[in-house]
């Protein structure tokens, strides 16, 4: 249970699409408090489109991320298209060619995704952006690995850190993006991008945990299941 099949994990991308579409209203609502209220619309437009392009095909996680990244880049303008678009595109590239993904490769994937977002957007922790969910999430994954925890526990650590990172944005003053113009008035609300980021990482972690359990039960010696 220290790796998963890149090919079998593909459908998790559809879970991520479903999660964004399901939470469109919530994402829009919190963006509306200090931004322009379109984060839910922007995200679900892009994710839904990617979902449509993927559906009916067989695809692995790499292919799923590639399509998602490509769709965001091609069809969603503004800042979300390039930020999440390159995020998924870069992550797809680190997965490409791999049959099985272990914690090491997953860490490389996270690093590639985080680097491109920071490189492109220039946001730092504390600026009240999606980076406040992403950076702690990656750091927690890596810290768990350094503590020699299993892949599954690393994923759980990542998910929890993303959620905590999201919560940390509540007390921040926005320093970047549309909400930064509000200054102090931006305090007291969660950041919309951090919310979508946390949601995506949690959905990914949950999907992978489920997939790894499934593979584990399939590979377990006959009769070992309860």
């Amino acid at each position: 249970m220290d790796s998963f099949s890149q090919q079998a994990a593909g459908p998790i991308v559809l879970d991520m699409v479903a999660a964004i579409v399901r939470e469109q209203g919530f994402l829009g609502e919190i963006d509306g408090k200090i931004g322009d209220g379109d984060h839910g619309i922007n995200m679900s437009k892009g994710f839904r489109l990617a979902g449509e392009r993927l559906s009916g095909h067989a695809f692995g996680l790499a292919q799923g991320f590639a399509t998602l990244g490509d769709t965001l880049l091609s069809d969603i303008g503004g800042s979300m298209g390039p930020l999440y678009g390159t995020f998924f595109t870069e992550m797809a590239e680190t997965l490409e060619g791999a049959d099985r993904i272990d914690a090491g490769r997953f860490a490389a994937m996270l690093r590639a995704g985080r680097e491109t977002i920071v490189d492109l957007g220039g946001a730092k922790v504390g600026d009240k952006t999606l980076v406040d969910a992403l950076i702690p999430a990656e750091a927690a994954f890596n810290a768990a690995r350094e503590r020699h925890e299993g892949f599954a526990d690393c994923l759980l650590a990542m998910k929890q850190a993303a959620a905590a990172g999201l919560e940390s944005t509540r007390d921040m003053v926005a320093k970047i993006g549309r909400a930064s113009r509000l200054g102090e008035r931006s305090r007291g609300t969660l950041d919309a991008g951090a919310a979508s980021c946390s949601l995506l990482l949690a959905t990914l972690a949950d999907g992978l945990l489920r997939e790894m359990r499934r593979e584990h039960s399939l590979n377990a010696p006959e009769g070992a299941s309860p």
Binding site: D36, G37, D38, I41, N42, L73, S74, D75, I76, G77, G78, S79, G81, P82, L83, G85, T86, L120, G121, I176, G177, R181, L182
Partner: protein
């Protein structure tokens, strides 16, 4: 919201059909649905000039595609940057083998998408250089000009770059001309009412009747002060002072002046403001040599006005004088 639209999510697509139908002599479609280019034969051997930006600022951006101006434009959703792929396609459409000058405004989304598109174009062997307009003095202090937004001054940057390209300048010369134009340009806006993106159905911000938002951005970004609405003469004084001191413009300078409505302001009121601006500049020994008054760069149906000044040197004066023909700006070579 009471508007001339069909599906609020399809306003951009729907309007592009109309642009193409109305101006087959000026505009042509490309292989990318969100990219338009100049109609007619694509003369070889000169630099391509490109811009792109969100919709809702018409006639900017696509209205400045034409002779002596832009070769192609990437078109975003209302108030949202075009995609990197759109910018990339616009570069391809404008490319004539001598490189492409991408002259655009300083917004997070545009910066990211252009940056990515430049990389994509490099893979095609298309050299793209950029100038980022940052003429809005209200959006950041003069010590951090790189944080300032691009507003109506972009039009003068396009005019200068487009004219230099048509003169046969190479990519560096076109970029230098556009960069110089925007470096010599300062703008400020005053908002008097909010605007409504059709897909939202209601305004994202409010301006109270009797109050004005001094330094408002082109998407309703808050300005530097909310004040009781002043008479036009005082608005003009406030705007002129802020701009003139920023560059600074001084006695003996020749300038181009652009007064643009933000959408709903009656044209007679734009001229009324221009009258005051003209007088204030002359009192300071500054001479308006090129004058543009009208709805050049709008924000949907926002009520309000922006003022742009460009300090002229010999080259800029020449470039602004060259003929141009487009939906938004026609300069006849008299």
């Amino acid at each position: 919201m009471n508007r001339v639209i069909n599906d609020p999510d399809q306003v951009v697509e729907d309007s592009l059909k109309g642009y193409l139908a109305a101006h087959p002599d000026l505009l042509a479609s490309t292989d990318h649905p969100r990219v338009l280019c100049r109609a007619g034969h694509k003369e070889s051997g000169r630099v391509g000039v490109v811009t792109g930006g969100g919709s809702g600022h018409e006639p900017a951006f696509l209205g400045y595609v034409g002779q002596g101006l832009l070769d192609s434009v990437a078109i975003g959703e209302i108030f949202a940057s075009p995609t990197a792929k759109s910018f990339h396609a616009a570069f391809r459409a404008a490319n004539r083998g001598r490189g492409v000058a991408c002259l655009y405004g300083n917004y997070a989304g545009d910066n990211m998408n252009v940056k990515m598109a430049v990389k994509l174009a490099a893979k095609d062997g298309i050299e793209v250089k950029t100038v980022v307009a940052n003429d809005d003095v209200a959006s950041a202090g003069s010590h951090e000009r790189d944080r300032r937004r691009g507003v109506a001054g972009e039009i003068l940057m396009w005019k200068a770059g487009g004219a230099r390209a048509e003169e046969g300048g190479d990519l560096d010369e076109v970029i230098a001309a556009a960069q110089n134009a925007i470096d010599q340009t300062r703008s400020i806006g005053i908002g008097l009412s909010a605007c409504t993106i059709p897909a939202n159905g209601k305004p994202n911000f409010t301006i109270k009747d009797g109050e004005m938002e001094v330094g408002i951005g082109h998407h309703g970004e808050p300005g530097i002060a909310v004040l009781p609405t002043k008479p036009a003469a005082e608005m003009a004084a406030m705007m002129v002072e802020r701009i003139v001191d920023d560059l600074p413009f001084g006695r003996g300078d020749d300038v181009a002046v652009l007064v643009s409505g933000l959408g709903a302001t009656p044209v007679m009121e734009l001229y009324l403001l221009y009258g005051h601006v003209d007088q204030l500049l002359r009192e300071r020994g500054i001479t308006p040599r090129h004058r543009f008054v009208g709805n050049y760069f709008t924000s949907l149906e926002m009520m309000g006005v922006s003022l742009t000044l460009t300090r002229l040197d010999g080259e800029l004066d020449r470039l602004l004088s060259r003929p141009a023909r487009s939906i938004g700006l026609t300069v006849t070579g008299t």
